[in-house]
């Protein structure tokens, strides 16, 4: 998979439970590194490392406000993930619904023959 592909980068960033938890937290609003570190038994630098991965994936951005620099969630790459996941289900849900009707038609055809 090409490393530059947005979807792959997003998935790689989402492949870690700490990073997913950080994103879920940020969905409630911007937070500082200190606030984001609190729920985890993890050093500040370890959390910062996760934040850098999320930042590179375009999932969060750093605010400009003074030294606090709160992180904010960037939703658009996540939307792409959701659409992609939905795509597959949509494909099979729609196809199977059509197969229901089609099988019914085939069986009715057999009976009237």
């Amino acid at each position: 998979m090409p490393a530059t592909d947005t979807l792959s980068t997003t998935f790689a960033a989402l492949a870690d439970p700490t990073r997913r938890a950080i994103l879920v937290r940020l969905a409630d609003g911007p937070a500082t590194v200190k606030e984001l570190s609190e729920p985890f038994e993890m050093s500040g630098p370890a959390v910062s490392k996760h934040l850098r991965v999320l930042e590179r994936a375009g999932l969060i951005h750093r605010g400009r406000e003074a030294q606090w620099r709160p992180r904010t969630l960037e939703a658009s790459p996540l939307r792409e993930v959701a659409e992609f996941a939905g795509e597959f289900r949509r494909f099979w849900d729609a196809s199977h619904a059509r197969l229901d009707t089609y099988l019914q038609r085939l069986q009715e055809g057999e009976r009237t023959r």
Partner: protein, 162 residues
């Protein structure tokens, strides 16, 4: 598998690290449902996904080692192409194929099993990926349920955002 297949609802599951399983029951005899999944004249009538797509290419050489190729088309969209090889055919019980969406995607081994009981035929399609990572990337299983809790929360998050 504990899932009781129902008509009218397709179930998506990840029972192991590398499998992705799709289950659905149909009110038709097994032979007919098997044919609907393996005969191009039937397949192109229903395996079309959302409205607007057609299947200009639907070819299967239904025997071990045979090639298959599907192409879906919709105006103003790029064609989707899927290819693979037939590994095993046991009508009307099961067939096994490999499947690939292209070189950048992992090839899967797809096993489709048909069982009949009380007038219902249950179709179980198991897609086996080479690794868990490949499966999760290809299928975005976070949105499929049955995942760890933070995936479930992420799922909620996605639902809120989209």
């Amino acid at each position: 598998m504990t899932t009781v297949a129902r008509t009218g609802v397709t179930t998506y599951e990840t029972p192991t690290d590398t499998d992705f399983v799709i289950t659905r029951a149909f009110a038709a005899p097994r032979r007919l449902v098997f044919d609907a999944h393996t005969d191009p004249k039937h397949i192109r009538q229903w395996m079309l996904g959302p409205e607007g797509w057609t299947m200009p290419v639907c070819e299967i050489d239904l025997r071990p080692g045979g090639a298959w190729r599907y192409v879906w088309r919709k105006p103003n969209e790029s064609d989707l192409e899927m290819t693979g090889t037939v590994r095993e055919v046991v009508p009307p019980e099961r067939f096994v194929t490999t499947e690939s969406w292209g070189p950048e995607w992992p090839e899967t081994v797809n096993t489709t099993v048909f069982t009949e009981s009380e007038g219902l035929t249950t179709v179980t399609l198991t897609m086996t990926y080479p690794t868990k990572k490949a499966r999760d990337e290809a299928r975005a299983t976070g949105a499929e349920g049955g995942m760890d809790q933070s995936y479930a929360r992420l799922d909620e998050l996605l639902a809120r955002l989209v």
